[in-house]
Symmetry: C2
Subunit: 416 residues, 2 copies
């Protein structure tokens, strides 16, 4: 039995609703393949492992019930880090600590679930292993609500964030249309450089509501004057205008719009305003009507209670596929969705060399944004629609959803 | 048939997730009793009716399917207003317009669904009717996420808002605990003078998460120094501190803590924003660790996708009871929940004189806040728990919930 060896899994970067579904998928793939003796989990990613923090996951997740519950639990069960591994020529001691751990614990595969920056860790670990002729497979599993990873049709976690954004946008429309006075509502959505999530607000449109009337992404230069004209034009058609805006909208010179405005609070502190608040203050001056802004904030990446079933199911599938890739001997690869067909919607999982993915961003193609730069095209909607289908069957106890116990993450005393 | 007469329904004040459930309940009560010929709906409340805006609801809501869909649609199907009726001695012409409409349309009952300020409309209309010996019943139906209406155990709409707050707080805990660095997260919850909704954040607590660690309501004087001490004390136990705070927290002299409180609405309320942001900035200076604030904003009053089934069912029930009250000849009354038993939880509907309710606020009793003023007591939790039970079975189409068509609310051309 010892010849099977062990494996370890880590999670890294910002939270999503589906990153634990991928963890559950990796665990399910391991159980089904029976290819490893023990499965460890880094606590707080590669940074936590460097400090000796890990868990034995084989013992905790044996039953279907526990794996199902894990799959719908938001954020990272294993905790996260935002840690860029230094190059091994700069800090060889870090690599020695990590690979000593791998060797002494008979780790044959490292699964690392994360986004752009986390894939950089996969590159560096696999490069070190290759350079030192070490027999260990390093496999990346994607995640990010930003949907900005190359080579994969979309990313695990994006569909659920998109479903939250679309649903919330529709509910904000219902909230907005009730008063018989002109108003502008600006909804700020996450996305510094990639506008995929803001684009998904268009999925809120129904036969009776066109909200959001205007959509601005970081990929198209933002002009304050054009924005005011856009709003005034919509105001001729309807009383209440609803705008979706990426946090990362920039002017034609690439400067963030949010950086142009600061407010001063009661203590005299300058507050850096978000893009939504900045536009709110600007419009109030220009229009003289009621203007408000809503920042969806961390809710858009953690609202498991309205996860996309498609997203959760696929995230489990891609986790299982990561195990298959490792067992086929692949390394320095990331598992990716490949859309085989849109109607009916069907995706397969393939794997790609990590060098084509790490530290790269897939932004929205300009042709999926309308010419005026204030809406998305029908092609974008065709791409987005299948990703938010279905709803997770959520168990509730005492009125709130039932998620996994994460006591190990918030205790002051670190476990080994 | 004509002897049965007609009735009219209006909605007023701020949105909730259950105010259309009460509308659906009134409509169901009317259909079941067969006591009226036609049912009209004021569009944009009493203010809209003054401008001649109304709909015929009998034609639109005949089927069980349409009434069920209405019951889970957020915000006001009929639109809303924030309009304080002037006293009839000041503006008799307003009352003449309204009662001419009622008389010429054979309106026998006015159902008005709203909160504190809307109940003022019920008081004034019924006083006018009484003074002029007019045979028309005016019945108030409560609603508000603030839960601050006297005489009723709780208000329709509160349970759903509480469920959203508790669920979101739990999801924010999962989002917060992932990093291995100290942080403070401040969640700002609606409530100017009454802390009921902020208190409901305590329902997020599970066996593995104590979030929110600290809860501050407007009913207990807020002290910035004590707040910093409270946070420092929790930081000794865990890395990540999560705080729930009402938008309306005040210092011992009754001044709002929030950064900006200059704007004044139609009722003379100060428009608040930024208690959370204010505390965030204050703490950043004092602690030097990561501090962030999250404002739940309009989502807490419009997130029908996670409505409390208990709240929706009861809101339909109280709407039906309003019809029963009218048919019993009652007027100048509001229907109220009376909690018969907590275990098992069971409420009945009774009606109370509107004078005891309008323009009055039911705040959290001091004994349901702990002595230090930074948490709620077990009695509060016992009161709150039953209100968030269950989940609405939500239909989805194209990935988003299926709500009622509200085209009539946002078109530029007002319907008659």
């Amino acid at each position: 039995m010892l010849s099977k060896g062990n494996c370890i899994i880590g999670q890294s970067g910002g939270p999503t609703v589906a990153i634990n579904a991928s963890l559950s998928g990796v665990l399910q793939g391991i159980i089904e393949s029976d290819a490893y003796n023990s499965v460890y989990g880094m606590v707080h990613g590669i940074e936590g492992l460097l400090q000796g923090s890990y868990l034995n996951l084989s013992e905790q997740f044996k039953t279907k019930e526990s794996l199902d519950k894990l799959a719908i639990t938001p954020s990272m069960y294993l905790g996260s880090c935002r840690f860029k591994l230094p190059h091994y020529e700069v800090a060889p001691e870090i690599y020695e600590i990590l690979f000593n751990f791998f060797t002494s614990n008979d780790i044959r595969t490292v699964f690392y679930i994360g986004g752009n920056d986390s894939m950089d860790t996969v590159v560096k670990l696999s490069s070190y292993a290759k350079a030192n002729n070490l027999s260990i497979n390093i496999i990346g599993v994607p995640k990010t609500i930003d949907n900005d990873l190359p080579m994969t049709d979309h990313t695990p976690g994006f569909g659920s964030a998109a479903k939250f954004v679309a649903t919330t946008m529709l509910e904000i429309a219902h909230d907005t249309y009730i008063y018989n006075i002109p108003s502008v509502t600006i909804v700020e959505i996450m996305g510094r450089n990639a506008g995929w999530l803001t684009a998904s607000s268009a999925l809120a449109r129904t036969s009776y509501s066109n909200a959001p009337d205007l959509i601005y992404l970081p990929e198209a230069p933002f002009c304050l004057d054009s924005f005011v004209e856009d709003v005034k034009r919509i105001q001729k058609q309807r009383k209440n205008v609803i705008v979706a805006v990426s946090e990362g909208i920039k002017d034609k010179d690439g400067n963030y719009i949010s950086a142009t405005s600061t407010a001063v609070d009661a203590f005299g502190h300058k507050q850096l305003c978000g893009a939504g608040k900045t536009l709110e203050n600007y419009l109030k001056d220009k229009l003289g009507c009621k203007v408000r802004s809503v920042e969806l904030n961390v809710l858009q990446r953690s609202a498991s209670h309205i996860a996309s079933k498609t997203d959760i199911d696929e995230s489990i599938m891609i986790g299982k596929a990561a195990v298959k890739s490792a067992l086929e001997g692949k390394t320095a690869q990331m598992v990716c969705y490949h859309r085989m067909s849109n109607d009916p919607y069907y995706v397969d999982v393939v794997s790609h060399a990590i060098e084509d993915i790490a530290n790269k961003e897939k932004v929205v193609p300009r042709m999926w944004i309308n010419e005026a730069g204030n809406d998305v095209t029908e092609d974008m909607l065709t791409y987005l629609r299948p990703l938010i289908e279905g709803e997770t069957v959520m168990g509730y106890a005492n009125g709130v959803p039932v998620y996994c116990d994460i006591t190990h993450l918030h205790t002051k005393t670190e476990q080994k």
